[in-house]
């Protein structure tokens, strides 16, 4: 029998618990509202489990420290919000190119720039996909509840290790600061994935020679295994080959193929509502909470409505959205931005897709969604 514990926790606190259970033993960061509780929580928890906490001089340095510690073998977390997330982009690109597992949390607040420090938004959705330059793959997960903060953090670490890939956990000020009931499972029942290690002898080991799943193998640090890593286009030995067209094409397509191979493991979503519906509300993050309340009221009124909550945002789960949208007459996409992920939904379906947007630092309310759907 497993023992779960009922707790009353904040989203950011649950995220810390998830990271510890997932095996994170290193955190480097710089505090920023509304992500500071993660930094605070990791500083309290890590020393108790033999981990290392570093408050760095800024977000660039903390991203670098997290990458470095991961290269040395540890599971690493860093957390920030919009302005800090901008600064971390260069490092995210490096982690992507050098295939370094690391989890980056962005608790979204209102932007642009220092924007609205204490107020929520969903304005970094496209930045999470394309914030750093180059044709890089990325995984982005987005929680809507305190429980999901815990579960998706564990999933982020597992995917990061499995695919050797930076994973972004895109939370927001509402979910991060909200406190609610959570049932924490017995940690021994939680599935944890660790990076795969080579079984080749040191003289045959090439750090970027991939397995059948397109993911290369790690080797134990501080042993006879030679290891070279480089953010230029590189050979399987890890040395620069940035004028070699063939090596470049092979490497960059492989980086993307890793995610394609594990698409089923990455993709996650939830569906709420009746089997037959006229309007499908596609949501992610905090807006899901308002959408679920609206769905209940609308169905009671006789307006058949369902909610598709996207928990994995990138790679965009196009097939899932296409499937659920095909069963609806119309689609509504509420977002706390001026319309970012809606374009992906439009690409996924031929059904008419309308947006419901705000950018004033306030949440989208159930009332707004109800009124909008009534008009549709």
């Amino acid at each position: 029998m497993s023992n779960s514990t009922v707790r009353f926790m904040q989203g950011n606190e649950a995220l810390v618990e998830g990271a510890i259970v997932a095996g994170a033993r290193f955190f480097a960061g710089y505090p920023i509202t509304p992500a500071s509780e993660i930094t605070e929580g990791m500083s309290a928890r890590l020393p108790l489990v033999g981990g290392v906490f570093l408050q760095m001089e800024d977000e660039i340095a903390s991203m670098g420290a997290a990458i470095g510690a991961s290269m040395a073998g540890g599971k690493c977390l860093t957390a920030t919000s919009g302005p800090g997330f901008s600064l971390k982009q260069e490092g995210i690109g490096i982690a992507s190119m050098m295939e370094i597992p690391v989890v980056i949390v962005d608790v979204m607040r209102g932007g642009p720039a220092s924007g609205m420090s204490t107020l929520p938004s969903q304005m970094d959705v496209m930045q999470a996909r394309w914030g750093c330059h180059g044709d890089h793959p990325i995984i982005v997960l987005s929680p809507a509840t305190v429980t999901e903060c815990y579960e998706l953090t564990i999933k982020a670490f597992n995917l990061s290790e499995l695919i050797r890939q930076p994973v972004i956990l895109l939370s927001d000020a509402i979910v991060g600061h909200l406190r609610e009931r959570i049932e924490l499972p017995d940690p021994s029942t939680v599935k944890i994935i660790n990076r795969k290690m080579t079984d080749k002898p040191p003289e045959e080991y090439a750090p970027f020679a991939a397995g059948e799943d397109a993911v290369p193998f790690f080797a134990e640090r501080g042993t006879a295994y030679r290891y070279h890593m480089c953010s230029n286009v590189h050979t399987e030995q890890g040395f620069p080959a940035d004028t070699n067209n063939e090596v470049a094409a092979k490497l960059i397509t492989r980086l993307h193929r890793k995610l394609e191979n594990y698409a089923d493991e990455i993709t996650c979503y939830q569906f709420f509502g009746p089997k037959d519906y006229d309007v499908l509300i596609v949501s992610y993050g905090c807006v899901t909470r308002a959408a679920k309340d609206a769905e209940k009221v609308l169905n009671e009124e006789g307006k058949a409505t369902a909610v598709l909550q996207l928990q994995s945002l990138w790679p965009f789960p196009r097939a899932i959205v296409a499937d659920y949208a095909a069963r609806a007459g119309k689609v509504l996409m509420p977002e706390i931005n001026l319309g970012q992920l809606i374009d992906q939904v439009r690409l996924a379906t031929d059904r008419p897709v309308e947006g419901l947007n705000r950018c004033d630092g306030a949440e989208i309310t159930p009332r707004q969604i109800i009124e909008k759907v009534r008009e549709m």
Binding site: T118, I174, L178, R179, D293, T365
Partner: protein, 186 residues
Amino acid sequence: MRNEVILSGFGGQGLILAGVLLAEAAVVHEGINATQDQVYGIAARGGECCSEVIVSNEGDINYAKVTTPDIVLAMSQAAFNKYAPRVKEGGIIIIDTVFVEDTSALDGHDCEVIPLPITAISQEKAGRTMLANVTALGAICERTKLIQNQNMIDEILERVPRGTEEINRKAFWGGVEAVQALETGR
């Protein structure tokens, strides 16, 4: 039953903590559902502060912003003017008369106003104004029965720094007794 509560005043009065304690008591000690959220600006101390709590035994709480509160605690004049008029018809407003003198913002509203010198009670019973938030919790629980008094004080004692249990007890029961005295006096 679903109850929406606003605890409002200025930064430094411990209202966010009070909201956390109230909601945690519901979840951990009463086994029902609750959420807590807050609104604050960049400079928290002395600025406007509002802690929002929803307590429900009707399943999930999704959207967790309080729109029309059943219960409002106002511990500053500005907070009273802003939040008290939002109260639901027939709702309850508890005011700290040390800070709230003018209740004209509520003129024409159908609700019950409970005037208590919360900060003065905290000073008198516990020897410090700092525990006004705990006194307010006593008043809220006694008047609304949102959380049973014993569950609330158990929750408070689990969370406060060691060595402060006695003054927290005094502050809490001070709030309870003030409401009882008011009701007896009627």
